[in-house]
């Protein structure tokens, strides 16, 4: 029995949509970063599904690179969150408007 690759792609689309909704709705910076991780995972799932459907291994390599970038992004993002928390003593994104004019 072969698995329907279309359904894996649909799962990826739904996960990405949930991530976008989270970024729009939540105010906590850490939750927003986690929603970004969710979107990166949805992209990874699409890569794996299409790699399976097309019988090519390049998708697997791309997933590897996406994971590397996600790790780097999480490290730098969380460092920025710590620095912001030190200055503003809050994690509410609406409080971080120093670059607005």
């Amino acid at each position: 029995m072969t698995l329907p690759v279309e359904h894996a792609v649909l799962l990826s689309v739904a996960l990405f949509a949930i991530g976008v909704v989270g970024v729009f709705l939540r105010r906590n910076v850490i939750t927003i970063l986690m929603c970004i991780e969710l979107m990166l995972n949805a992209a990874n799932l699409a890569f794996v599904a299409f790699s399976r459907a097309l019988g090519a291994l390049d998708g697997q390599i791309l997933v590897f690179f996406v994971m590397t970038v996600a790790a780097a992004e999480a490290a730098v993002g969380l460092a920025i969150v710590i620095a912001l928390h030190r200055h503003k003593d809050t994690l509410d994104v609406d409080a971080f408007n120093i670059l607005k004019w």
Binding site: M1, I18, M34, V48, M67, A75, I82
Partner: protein
């Protein structure tokens, strides 16, 4: 048959816990919810014939990245969000448009069903992926990612350091 049952079970678990990430008020619960999503996605990768990515998902995401998130949550003593989620007419319009886009994408994918035949022989074993990764085609990109990680490491230390 068993494959299909496990696949749809894991997919439902991934969707439910992903919704939990967004719905939870406390970021700690969001983080645990995200770990469940990542683990079920790892199972799906295994079912799709990618054992290397499945193990990498557990080690890198559930192991390293989520521990980093939990460390920061515990370090900062995060309080729950006391005011409700953002609302507004613009945001509602954006949400409606995105929902429409999602529905459109789902219809297109379901309508295009059966376009490309799925190859029955699919070799995504760790040696095969490693041979491709260390071939000249991707070798330089692979080395570039190590520089990226180093830069991110130095940047994170510089950003989070206490100012003198």
């Amino acid at each position: 048959m068993l494959d299909a049952i496990v696949f749809y079970g894991l997919a439902a678990l991934a969707l439910a816990s992903a919704a939990g990430v967004v719905a939870q008020k406390n970021p700690t619960y969001s983080a645990f919810s995200l770990i469940v999503t990542l683990c079920s996605l790892s199972g799906i990768y295994g079912l799709l014939g990618s054992p290397f990515i499945a193990v990498l998902q557990i080690v890198v995401y559930a192991g390293a990245i989520m521990v980093l998130f939990l460390f920061v949550i515990m370090l900062l003593r995060v309080k729950q969000e006391d005011h409700p989620a953002r609302e507004g007419r613009l945001l509602k319009g954006v949400a409606f448009g995105l929902g429409l886009l999602l529905a459109l994408q789902m219809t297109v994918v379901l309508a295009a069903r059966g376009g490309t035949p799925i190859p029955s022989i699919y070799e995504a074993s760790t040696p095969a992926v490693a041979r491709l990764l260390f071939a000249p085609r991707f070798l330089y990109v692979f080395e570039a990612t190590s520089i990226l990680i180093l830069a991110a490491l130095v940047g994170a230390v510089a950003l989070a350091k206490k100012e003198p």
